[in-house]
């Protein structure tokens, strides 16, 4: 079984996680830029973070046989801090990079005017750079936030096929299915979605345009949730091809629209890297 986790914050995870993910079948990840537990207060913090997503993290992933790409953006929450606004003018040079396969995560957190300006500006950046977009939906007031998200995406004139709306649940999946956008689901131990509810949505809505992710980060989360969904799908009567579509081919098709998804070179763990520690000098 091959698994592509289309949304996971590996920078917050350990090398043990990479090892366990590889053992579970994960061979590719996309890491979208987001907030850390501690709010950032200046542009330089973002640039070092972006550099890590383009340098250290793919290098670390490759040592465990996992392809690592990223999505870059100023995230919704920190879009509210004027000290971080300068990130927007740095983004164009970053969006040219080889392993950037989308703009993201963008969207709403508290649905403020500042969030909306930054969201719209980054949808425009995605169009200018011919990149798909990963859109976060808010955890508070989710249904209203998702509806407004779809309005903003529609008004920006982006083809729905180039937009992935994430963190959906039973309340929000229907409107996104109707919009033509791709549908993302984050599987968490306690909150968001769980594997059995995910399987129920797959039974109801089918496997087209559906993506499943762990969204694992620094909070209570688990990077092996993608595999749990695959196993739950098989147990519920989906076949191996359905599992491959949801957990591999759909994310490949979505991020492949960037023209920069490289799943051939660079991630095979060589004999020197077979140990369980990262190479250090």
């Amino acid at each position: 079984m091959r698994i592509f986790d289309p949304h996971v914050h590996m920078t917050s995870r350990t090398t043990d996680d990479y090892q366990r993910m590889h053992a579970a079948g994960v061979r590719a990840v996309v890491e979208p830029a987001f907030w850390l537990g501690q709010p950032r207060t200046n542009v330089g913090s973002f640039l070092d973070y972006f550099d890590a997503l383009l340098g250290w993290e793919p290098y670390r992933a490759a040592q465990y046989g996992i392809h690592h790409h990223c999505a870059l953006a100023l995230n919704p929450k920190e879009a509210n801090d004027p000290r971080c606004a300068g990130v927007l003018s740095e983004l164009p040079r970053y969006l040219l990079k080889e392993s950037v396969v989308a703009v993201g995560e963008v969207g709403y957190d508290s649905m403020t005017a500042a969030e909306e300006r930054v969201f719209e500006a980054q949808l425009a950046l995605a169009q200018e750079n011919d990149l798909p977009v990963l859109v976060h939906t808010p955890h508070r007031d989710k249904a209203a936030g998702t509806r407004r998200t779809l309005d903003v995406v529609r008004a920006a004139g982006l083809p729905p096929g180039r937009v992935l709306i994430d963190h959906l649940n039973e309340m929000t999946v229907g409107m996104v299915a109707d919009s033509g956008c791709w549908m993302g689901f984050s599987i968490y131990p306690d909150t968001k979605m769980d594997p059995d509810r995910m399987v129920a949505l797959l039974s109801e809505y089918g496997t087209e345009r559906m993506l499943v992710n762990s969204a694992a980060d620094w909070g209570r989360s688990d990077p092996l949730k993608t595999r749990e969904v695959a196993d739950a799908m098989l147990a519920a009567g989906f076949d191996a091809d359905d599992v491959d579509q949801v957990l591999w081919r759909n994310p490949v098709a979505f991020y492949g629209q960037s023209g920069r998804l490289d799943l051939e070179t660079g991630s095979e763990a060589g004999p020197d890297y077979a140990g369980n520690t990262i190479k250090r000098g």
Partner: protein, 168 residues
């Protein structure tokens, strides 16, 4: 190389020859748009422009930095880029560390930094064959450092790499 790639590369080189700062926008997309080896060709077009190459390295991702480190000795920089090599030697990326000890690093690093770089290769399982002109730069102090490291490995019951054994 396909025709559009050749065309992209030829045009990019002309732009850089007219304005070296144009490389900032062109370099990240060069391999994608201009085919394999395109990054090196763009660097050669900007050769001699120390500040441009330094800025490009500082804004580069790992792949871009690797391309720069590998080409440094062809870029007419004299010793002006030794800071980039020292930066690469501070990373934990074996590809960058190995490239830092290519022909340029070997020509311009001071003795202390060169010896530390070689020892770092050993720590990162980078074969010493990756170090350019190791024979010319090898000295008694580096031999002592390698032999102390070999003793440390033996004390821990770990194997001593063959290329270290040969040098101490």
């Amino acid at each position: 190389m396909t025709e559009p790639a050749q065309e992209w590369l030829a045009q990019a080189i002309r732009q850089i020859e007219a304005d070296p700062y144009a490389i900032h926008r062109l370099f990240p997309q060069a391999e994608r748009r201009g085919g394999p080896g395109a990054r090196r060709a763009l660097l050669v077009a900007a050769r001699g422009h120390h500040a441009v190459i330094r800025g490009l390295y500082e804004a580069g991702d790992s792949g871009e930095r690797l391309a720069i480190l590998t080409a440094l000795h062809e870029l007419d920089l004299d010793g002006a880029a030794v800071g980039l090599v020292e930066d690469a030697l501070r990373t934990n990326d074996a590809r960058l560390v190995a490239a830092a000890l290519g022909p340029y690093g070997s020509a311009w690093l001071d003795d202390h930094s060169f010896r530390q770089g070689v020892l770092k290769c050993v720590f990162m399982s980078i074969p010493l064959a990756a170090v350019a002109e190791l024979d010319r730069r090898f000295d008694a102090e580096l031999a002592r450092m390698l032999s102390d490291y070999a003793a440390e490995l033996r004390a821990a019951g770990r194997p001593v790499p063959r290329d270290v054994l040969e040098r101490c």
